[in-house]
């Protein structure tokens, strides 16, 4: 499995990380080194093995479907890079 610059660009796009055009070949090469290392996993016979979901055998706990928290608008917005009128502000999403 070899990753070319087009695939590297697609992965960067999926991850929402801007990578400049001239940095793509080096990135693709790094991916190939890491994926080459990961490739060893194909040697393992995993027939009939269940993929691990939880490392401790446990049922996830359930709680009552009740409001336990809230009314903290100011605290929630306190770290926002841009907050206006009680909302997070972002660039225009819909034309």
């Amino acid at each position: 499995m070899s990753i070319d610059t087009n695939t590297a660009a697609r992965v960067a796009k999926l991850a929402r990380i801007r990578v400049e055009e001239d940095a793509l070949p080096a990135l693709a090469e790094e991916f190939n080194t890491i994926l080459g290392f990961i490739e060893q996993l194909s040697e393992v016979n995993v027939d009939g093995v269940e993929p691990m979901v939880s490392v401790t055998p446990m049922r996830l706990p359930r709680r009552a479907d009740a409001v336990t928290d809230g009314d903290q608008q100011a605290k929630i917005l306190s770290n926002a890079p841009d907050a206006r009128e009680g909302f997070f502000a972002v660039p225009k999403v819909v034309e």
Binding site: I38, V44, P61, S78
Partner: protein, 495 residues
């Protein structure tokens, strides 16, 4: 009493309870030591005012007579833990200026027990690294140096600031977190003790997430006894973490009898790696002999899937990281890139994440994105999760056969020089976790104990791996090893 910052937690506790010393004095000694240790770049956010207030409150409580063991003990806190009102950014540029409005459960437990917060400690960005060289705060420095050399060494990572601070006596203990070895490797590199408890023992709530199925908090301390005391104060059930174990927390310190007669210690043959330095091999053989002399039965065991632990980890951890780190989008907290005219929300995400994340974090997020993407999910992610099942089964089988604990080296080498690994490809750095990462994949408790020194005088650690939820038994084995190894060396003060 002089050099109060050099006390162990156990000795400080006893002195506090007897009234021989106050928390204000202890805390003052640590703050002075921190002030003189800027060269180590261990502490990155100063909370000395909070520390003095907490120490004063602890002294009042101690006078009252029924203070818990951690009351009045000054600690350093890894920057990964959110502490209310104190800047915390997981050593990342993307969380620049973030001030949490809430307190992590682990730190809240420590404050409830009366512990004192000295400041926030350096680490690898989002705990991704083995050398604290990916930190936005710059490198943390190991207080240890090779004999006759002033080459700056890494304290390891990702909890490198915690390790450097404890080894240099800037605090009595520190919190760490461990996703693939991030408590145990830095502990080994700095001659201190670090335990990663069973997955689910410590609440993950309020700890910035890296790989949620692997992350666990734990104490980094000067002795095994201190680790037992501090771990007891950190853990416990928390409804806010759905994977937190709802089981009682035993008195770990009470388990430290030092008597390991009849215990079965497994020596896994797969950990004998090609090219292992002779010093590490000797350390391992010495440790084996010490446990045998202490009355344990030593048994050769096999953990056949060991070789595949690192590759499985480097699928699972980046996959979970790519999902966890999706929240850093420039909307709710932290850094937002300056936008050009006409930039929309996609440009905001892409520029913010490119500016805010360092190179290693970007790499792992993208690898994670790739292994989770359509067409590769089964080949990589699901296969890695199946291999993880097999790795856990390896351990279950040896425990079922009667093994109580497993002894391995903690790291493949002593601390390396800063920059020595950065020129190598990323996989070379990943190999640091070769002995520790299996434990995270299997959810087991593991502890690193200083057990010897290399030819240059640098500390070396041994790892003991225990049965799930048997931290008390594991700590007792570690206590026996600590007593037999008699490691007392300290770094020369050069900073």
């Amino acid at each position: 009493m002089t050099d109060l910052n050099k006390l162990t937690i156990a000795d400080a506790r006893d002195a506090l309870r007897k009234g021989d010393v106050t928390s204000a004095e202890l805390t003052g000694a640590c703050l002075t030591a921190i002030e003189g240790a800027g060269a180590l770049n261990a502490f990155v956010h100063d909370t000395s005012d909070i520390a003095r207030d907490m120490a004063a409150a602890a002294d009042v409580r101690l006078k009252g007579g029924d203070a818990p063991a951690m009351c009045g003990i000054p600690l350093g806190i890894k920057d990964l833990f959110c502490t209310r009102g104190v800047p915390g950014q997981a050593a990342s540029g993307i969380l620049e200026g973030f001030v949490p409005e809430y307190e992590s459960t682990v730190t809240q437990n420590l404050w409830d027990a009366g512990a004192v917060m000295l400041g926030k400690l350096n680490m690898d960005e989002f705990a991704m690294g083995s050398s604290t060289e990916t930190s936005v705060y710059g490198n943390a420095i190991n207080p240890w140096r090779r004999a006759g050399s002033d080459t700056p060494l890494t304290p390891g990572g990702s909890s490198g600031g915690s390790a450097a601070a404890v080894a240099a006596d800037l605090c009595l203990g520190a919190t760490g977190t461990d996703t693939g070895g991030s408590i145990r490797q830095p502990a080994a590199f700095t001659g201190i003790t670090g335990i990663k408890p069973t997955y689910g023992r410590c609440s993950r709530w309020g700890v910035v997430a890296f790989a949620s199925s692997l992350d666990q908090a734990g104490p980094m301390t000067k002795t095994v006894r201190d680790a037992a005391i501090m771990l007891g104060a950190m853990c416990g059930h928390d409804a806010k973490d759905s994977t937190s174990a709802d089981i009682p927390v035993p008195d770990f310190e009470a388990a430290l009898s030092g008597d390991i007669r009849g215990k079965v210690i497994g020596i896994p043959k797969e950990y004998r790696m090609d090219g292992m330095p002779p010093e590490i091999e000797k350390l391992w053989a010495d440790g084996t002999a010490m446990l045998k002399d202490a009355g344990a039965e030593v048994r050769d065991i096999s953990l056949p899937h060991t070789k595949y632990a690192l590759p499985a980890y480097y699928v699972i951890a980046p996959a979970e990281a790519s999902s966890n780190l999706a929240r850093y989008d420039g909307v709710r907290y932290g850094h937002r890139a300056k936008l050009a005219p006409g930039d929309g929300i996609t440009e905001m995400y892409e520029k913010t994440r490119a500016e805010g994340f360092g190179a290693e974090v970007q790499r792992r997020v993208m690898v994670g994105t790739y292994v989770l993407s359509a067409g590769f999910y089964d080949a990589y992610y699901n296969r890695a999760r199946k291999v993880r099942t097999l790795i856990k089964r390896d351990f279950e089988q040896v425990f079922e056969a009667g093994v109580d604990a497993i002894l391995t080296p903690a790291t493949p080498s002593a601390a390396f020089g800063l920059g020595e690994m950065t020129s190598a490809d990323p996989v070379q750095m990943y190999l640091n976790d070769v002995f520790t990462v299996t434990v995270n994949l299997a959810g087991l408790p593991g502890i690193s104990v200083p057990a010897g020194q290399d030819a240059a005088g640098l500390p070396l650690g041994l790892q003991l791996i225990g049965r799930p939820w048997e931290e008390g038994d594991l700590l007792n084995c570690a206590y026996a090893l600590e007593r037999a190894a008699g490691f007392v060396a300290k770094p020369q003060k050069w900073w």
